[in-house]
């Protein structure tokens, strides 16, 4: 239904995004905490206390930037990767709409790399079966017509026989 390679690639891309986000967060916090502390005991004491007060907005801001960047990148990865599943579903929806509208339906095929090809296979299988049955019913009707043309006296009887056969054939659908 979905290739293993496709799933693996998606997870790999997601991991890369999260790793990139974590590295970015590390870089921001590293820069903030890497400013040198100089001076005597009291200046170090006050510098550290001061840093404590500022760490909340700094951590919050860094986390917010992380959220925005990672969510944005994740959304791009999702849209791009899930397009391989969403595309076939979208395509099938359009095919079904045209089928319901009574337009001729061709066999559905997907692009290379598209996932969920089973959607097309199962729909094609359904249409093929219905068409096979339609063809069989048409053959019954044409045989009756042919027999009627050869022997006009028996035309009515041939058609009635065909009707009985068709009634049996159609009864499978419910």
């Amino acid at each position: 239904m979905t290739e293993r390679g496709y799933l693996f690639r998606f997870l790999l891309q997601l991991s890369a995004v999260f790793a990139f986000g974590a590295l970015l967060l590390f870089a921001a916090l590293f820069l903030f905490f890497s400013r040198p502390i100089q001076g005597d005991y009291s200046s170090v004491f006050f510098a550290l206390r001061h840093l404590t007060e500022f760490s909340l907005p700094m951590v919050s801001f860094s986390a917010l930037v992380y959220v925005l960047l990672v969510c944005g990148a994740t959304a791009v990865v999702c849209v791009y990767a899930i397009h391989k599943i969403a595309g076939p579903i979208y395509r099938m929806e359009r095919v079904i709409e045209s089928y319901i509208a009574g337009e001729p339906v061709r066999r559905v095929s997907f692009r290379q790399g598209d996932q969920a090809t089973v959607l097309a296979e199962s729909f094609n299988g359904f249409i093929d079966r219905v068409r096979e049955d339609r063809q069989a019913w048409m053959e019954i009707v044409e045989r009756a017509d042919e027999a009627g043309r050869k022997n006009p006296a028996a035309a009515q009887e041939e058609m009635e026989k065909a009707v009985a056969l068709l009634r049996k054939a159609v009864s499978k659908y419910r």
């Binding site: 999260f18 974590a22 170090v44 840093l51 404590t52 959220v67 969403a86 079904i96 001729p104 199962s122």
Partner: protein, 181 residues
């Protein structure tokens, strides 16, 4: 047959599926980041507060105080978000597979003649919507078959006026031809 020449230009074509999945992962990232910020803030505050009493030791930068806390929590954030996202991902894949599997089974049974059992596909809403469209296609086919059945019932009833049989016979042929054009 695949067509590799023409390419799809619009990537965001199924907001329910693509946007829904993106929102699931975004929720994991937001929760992870919020927990990270909360825990890191309290740990940093405690570490810096405790270190301030040891200011007579030499510190080149505060990073020397907070490095272990930062690295540990960043690793935790990365692994936590990744693990939960992988779980969410497999849950999504499972739900999509369940939905598509149901639609596939229904289409197979439709080929055998069952055109009326509702699909009721589980999983994401987009799959359920697709299932309802498949149901509409099956209902459409069944309605065409019902029209044929009505003609057949009339033709086999023997109540038709002379000459009408031929007309209805032609109508029957036309109705058969309209199935799955």
């Amino acid at each position: 047959m695949t067509n590799s020449v023409t390419r799809r230009r619009i990537m965001y074509i199924h907001p329910r599926l693509q946007g829904g999945a993106a929102l699931c992962f975004a929720a994991v990232v937001v929760v992870g980041a919020a927990l990270f910020a909360l825990v890191v803030y309290y740990d940093l505050k405690r570490a810096l507060w405790q270190t301030s009493y040891m200011g007579h030791f030499t510190f080149q930068t505060p990073y020397q105080v907070v490095d272990k806390i930062l690295l540990t929590h960043l690793a935790g954030l990365f692994l936590g978000v990744l693990c939960v996202s992988v779980a969410v991902f497999f849950l999504l894949v499972h739900r999509v597979r369940a939905g598509i599997g149901r639609v596939t089974d229904v289409l197979k049974s439709s080929g055998e003649g069952d055109l009326s059992t509702p699909t009721e596909a589980p999983g994401p809403k987009s799959i359920a919507v697709y299932g309802s469209q498949v149901d509409a296609a099956r209902a459409h086919t069944l309605s065409r078959i019902e029209e044929i059945r009505a003609e057949l019932d009339f033709l086999s009833s023997g109540t038709q006026a002379p000459g009408e049989f031929r007309n209805r016979w032609e109508a029957l042929k036309e109705k058969i031809g309209r199935i799955a054009p």
